[in-house]
Amino acid sequence: MILFYAMAIVLILSAIFVVTAAKPVYSVVGLLAHFAALAILYFSLSAEFLGVIQIIVYSGAILMLFLFVIALLSSGVAAFSEGPNRLPKIAYPAAGALAVLLGFLVFAAGKFHAAVPAASKAAVPPVGAANAFGSVADFGRALFTVDLLPFEITAFILMVAVIGVILLAGDATPYVPVRKRQRIVDQEMREAVIREGRH
């Protein structure tokens, strides 16, 4: 219980840190903390396998990927800084929408206690046993029987990721700087409008 609340605080604070960090590298660090705390919560929910996966895949692989990209983009001539804010006022409506969203979600979720019927407590295998709920064996059996098809599909997904990234990375044509390009487009649009005769 204390664990949950502690982790909850960590999770929220780290999430806020991720979102508010000045530099992406800090965000990655925040995210790392977030994932670690999550993994701990997963363990407490008797999802040992998922906890491990969370650390390995998320923290180990995905976050590394982020770091690589940060390094890639900030290296060389390009300065890693932000340009002019074109939606400076977005914070207010965004905050409003978020408040509404969160408020009503929590409001509805708050009614949940009384709503869900109690399930049977029978046949609960002991936590920690080899065959127990959330164990690798339990997980694996489900993955290769009931949920075999989703598992197979992940193969395609990963293949898409691989081939897609290869193709994308192989694309060497430079991206024309936005503002310069913008002028050209604006010019074209104006001409088009004139030709159209304003309809």
Binding site: I90, A94, A97, F104
Partner: protein
Amino acid sequence: MTHQMGVTGSYPLILAIWLLPLAGAVIAWAFGPQLKRQAGMVGSAAIGLAFLATLASWGAAMQNAGGHLGAQQPLGSWLPGFDFGLLLDPLSLIWALIITGVGFLIHVYSIGYMWTDKAIARFFAYLNFFVFAMLTLVLSDNFAGLLVGWGLVGLASYFLIGFWFFKPTAVAAARKAFVINVVGDVGIMFGIFLIFWKIGSLSFGDVFANVHALDPWLFWTCLFLFIGAAAKSAQLPLHTWLADAMEGPTPVSALIHAATMVTAGVYLVARCAPLWSASHDAQTLVGTVGCLTALAGAILGVAQWDIKRILAYSTMSQIGYMIMGVGVTAYSAGVAHFFTHAFFKACLFLGSGIIIHELHDEQDIRLMGGMQKRTPVAFYAMGASVLAISGFPFFSGFFSKDQVIYGALEHGYTWMWAVGLLTAGITAYYMFRLFFVTFFGTYRGELPPESVGVPRQLHDTQQEPHGSNEHAPSWLMAAPVAILGVFAVGAGWIMMGTGSPWARFFANSFPHETLPAPSVSELVTSIIAVAMFLIGALIAYTRYGSSTALANAPARLKSETEKLPAILVNLYYFNELIGLLFVKPAIAIGQFFSRTIDPHLIDGAVRELVIASRAVGTFGRSLQTGLLRGYALIVVFGAAAFAVYYALEGAAR
């Protein structure tokens, strides 16, 4: 009496009467370019043959088999209730005789009158077509057919008034005549609808046998029918077109706007005698209108200078008499006046046509004078006709007019009797005025028009356009005038006395009433009428005919022109009133509709819809800022809305 119309069975000769003029019209129209002047012969021949056929049908029209009067020829049906047919009974016979007989004379006259006009074939096509239409009107045995004829004569009149269609005044006059006549058509139409609604049939026989089925709409039926009659017969307040109609060639004025078409209203009321006899209100209405028209027309006749317009107002006035006669149910008197009027008025018009011809299309009597020597035929014929119309004893008009005036008294309308007598005096005055100014004195045509009071512009527009100075054989025009003059003198003799041929002729046609003898006898009426005639003629003589008057005629005419009361010069402001009440509002409404409501209100509303849709589109476009966060924000907004709905709905369960 029973109201069965026509002896059952068919009488094909009516078809000949009816269709011969149409054939003439078609031939003249189709072969106009080839026929040229021969079209006049063809047209006259067609009418002449029709006249002969009418004469030959006399017996059939007079036959009376068990209450069925006249001869009948069915024609076919549109749908139940709309059955067509022709009927020749005494009433239609008398009209058909005038139409074809007087029509024939006018046709012959026209050959001479239109001799030099390039479009003479077209003229005869129209003229024959008119006769056909008029015969349709009077020969029809039902209201629908009558209405067809009613419309067609209006059309023919329109064509003939606008015959010189390059004259803007003629075009305008034609349009005016047609539109006012359509007002009348619509009135008749509505009367017909009422009849059809209440009786379910339109044939005269069925309707007159069930007059009481029309209650309580009987008066309204009569009223609507009379609107048609008033428009066609130029009764107040629908009279304004008649004077303008003088823009047409003079024979047209004689045939259509004097002898026949304008008397269609008289025919209608006479034909619907069973309706009028059953409705006292309708009698009062029609009698009053006729009486007032007679007076108003006569007064206007006093103030005119155009020879044809004087005759036009005279026609209006005389038709007022006829309408008054038939209106007060003195049917045979009204018809009698139609009969005599056809002769003397046609004669007057044709005579004036000779003068106009002689003077190369001059119509203003102030610019005439001394025509006695130049056009002797016209002088004598018109002289006889003037006497006839003024009610000189034993000329035709004397008999018929007295019958009408006395008829009003007989049916209890004393004031109409008085007004009728007064009008008789005025008639004598203006007719003799015309006569003296035109024929006596010296010719004033060489004087500058201003010196006799003729405004220059007016003068230029009022001429009839003829081509060259080439003249037709003079007998072509003289003979018809002379014949008509003879009839103008003698046509009334058949009406002399109580058991006259005229009375016997209509013995079975009209509802009979036994009336108490009025306080003033017929003889006294006649004497008063003659006195009125003498007074009127005397005043005219002292003003225009005496040697002192003739001596300084131009100056007199000029000063008189200037002194004419404005209300008479402007024809009681009727044209202005109609313009103000109907024409201008209609145009204003039309412009308001098409310039304001259509583009701004209705299209405006639709355009607002289009603009609104476009605004939605543009709004959507403005949301597409291209900025990723903006898009995300919109998605989140949507999500928030969803969350609100689902949270509330879910929590409510």
